[in-house]
């Protein structure tokens, strides 16, 4: 009987040390999320400015730049999946990967071949377990991305887009990441990076109005050449920052739930342990009483 009690006590001890770990991870996530959100906010004006400038060039210059026109010669599409490095963040990575698989199905239905890129250990291990070839992978620092990582990714993706069909060039570039909407809502989403499709923040010239003549220095082509790599980099960096904030928010929520689950388990086991102790005492008493009875009777 004493064995039963000991087992319960052991489980309570184990669970409460787990609870401490969960609580610590929740607090770490909570303390980092403020900074991650701030970085998202601070990077937004830059991305917006670049996007607007690109749109202005595309809308006003009428240049036929190879980077703004769709190419269809390769039949390949590059997909970059951004996930977390570690688990313990609920369904965060699973959601991103599910979204990526959905995109994959859609692209393959269109007869495209997928060139897979993965960022974050969870995505990398998902694909390597399924023996899918990765064209590029980045791990580490998923909760605090740096400009350097973004630059590397941009370079890798961009060179694919510029490469010839024989050299593994791609028609389109997609990013599958997570959008940080709020502390409680993060949404897995697909973003098409290239060819450009967004024209936002540029007013359409009204009918009859003379289209404002933008002056491009040195020339529209050169402006685009200078802008596009930066645009791609900033979009990737923006996505990484969104993903980092989302990861931390998911982790905080998941760890919060885990902590309260651990509390529930501890409460249950404490009750069971008390019951076992009570049962033991009751049994001991009845043994003593019945022993005394037996002696008195004889």
């Amino acid at each position: 009987m004493a064995g039963q009690q000991r087992v319960y006590r052991q489980r309570i001890r184990a669970t409460s040390s787990l609870k401490k770990i969960f609580r610590a991870m929740e607090l770490i996530a909570a303390s980092r999320i403020g900074k991650a959100r701030l970085r998202v906010e601070q990077a937004t004006p830059y991305t917006r400015a670049i996007t607007r400038a690109i749109s202005a060039v595309a809308a006003h210059s009428g240049v036929d730049h190879p980077l703004t026109t769709a190419r269809t010669d390769t039949g390949r599409a590059a997909v970059l999946v951004i996930s977390a490095d570690r688990g313990m963040a609920g369904a965060y990575s699973a959601n991103v990967i599910r979204e990526a698989e959905r995109l994959r199905g859609r692209l393959e239905a269109d007869g495209k071949e997928i060139v897979q890129f993965a960022a974050g250990r969870r995505a990398v291990s998902y694909y390597s377990f399924r023996r899918r070839e990765l064209a590029g992978q980045w791990t580490g620092g998923s909760d605090a991305p740096t400009r350097e990582t973004a630059r590397e990714m941009a370079r890798a993706l961009f060179s694919r887009f510029q490469a010839d069909a024989e050299d593994g060039g791609v028609d389109e570039i997609y990013i599958v990441g997570t959008r940080f909407v709020s502390m409680v809502t993060q949404q897995a989403q697909v973003l098409r990076l290239l060819p450009l499709e967004i024209v936002e923040g540029v007013e359409e010239p009204e009918e009859g109005e003379v289209q404002p003549l933008y002056d491009f220095e040195p020339s529209p082509e050169q402006v685009l050449d200078a802008l596009l790599p930066r645009y791609i980099e900033s979009r990737i960096f923006g996505s990484l920052l969104h993903c980092a904030a989302s990861e931390l928010a998911s982790r905080q929520r998941a760890m919060n739930t885990a902590t309260s689950n651990a509390e529930d388990i501890i409460r249950n086991y404490t009750r069971l342990a008390n019951q076992a102790r009570q049962a033991e005492i009751t049994q001991e008493i009845s043994e003593i009483v019945s022993g005394a009875d037996a002696l008195a009777a004889s």
């Binding site: 607007r52 404002p212 933008y214 220095e217």
Partner: protein, 96 residues
């Protein structure tokens, strides 16, 4: 003459300067460009140098830049810069 220019100077990770000023001078690849109210829309690539904001409500500001571009449309100027060496102290104090 219309009102002052609305100027935003943004770096990849933060906004360096935001507000209104009379004049903006930026080093483009073809030489320095000075922007005043009513300038024609322009989008220009910048080279390493100094972006200068003059006659701002909070005073002047200067930023050393590595590269970037400036866009001007309807008296709204957006200067996108690659951060050079630490931004000039004057810019820092004006931003906060």
């Amino acid at each position: 003459m219309a009102g002052p220019l609305t100027i935003d100077v943004v770096a990849p990770d933060r906004v360096l300067w935001s507000g209104t000023a009379e004049r903006l001078i930026a080093p483009t690849v073809e030489g320095e460009i000075g922007l005043l109210t009513g300038h024609e829309p322009v989008l220009s690539v910048l080279k390493a140098g100094t972006v200068r904001v003059r006659g701002g409500v909070d005073g002047d500001a200067e930023f050393a830049i590595e590269a970037g571009f400036v866009s001007f449309d309807h008296d709204v100027v957006t200067v996108v810069v690659e951060p050079a060496a630490p931004a000039a102290a004057a810019g820092e104090t004006a931003a906060h």
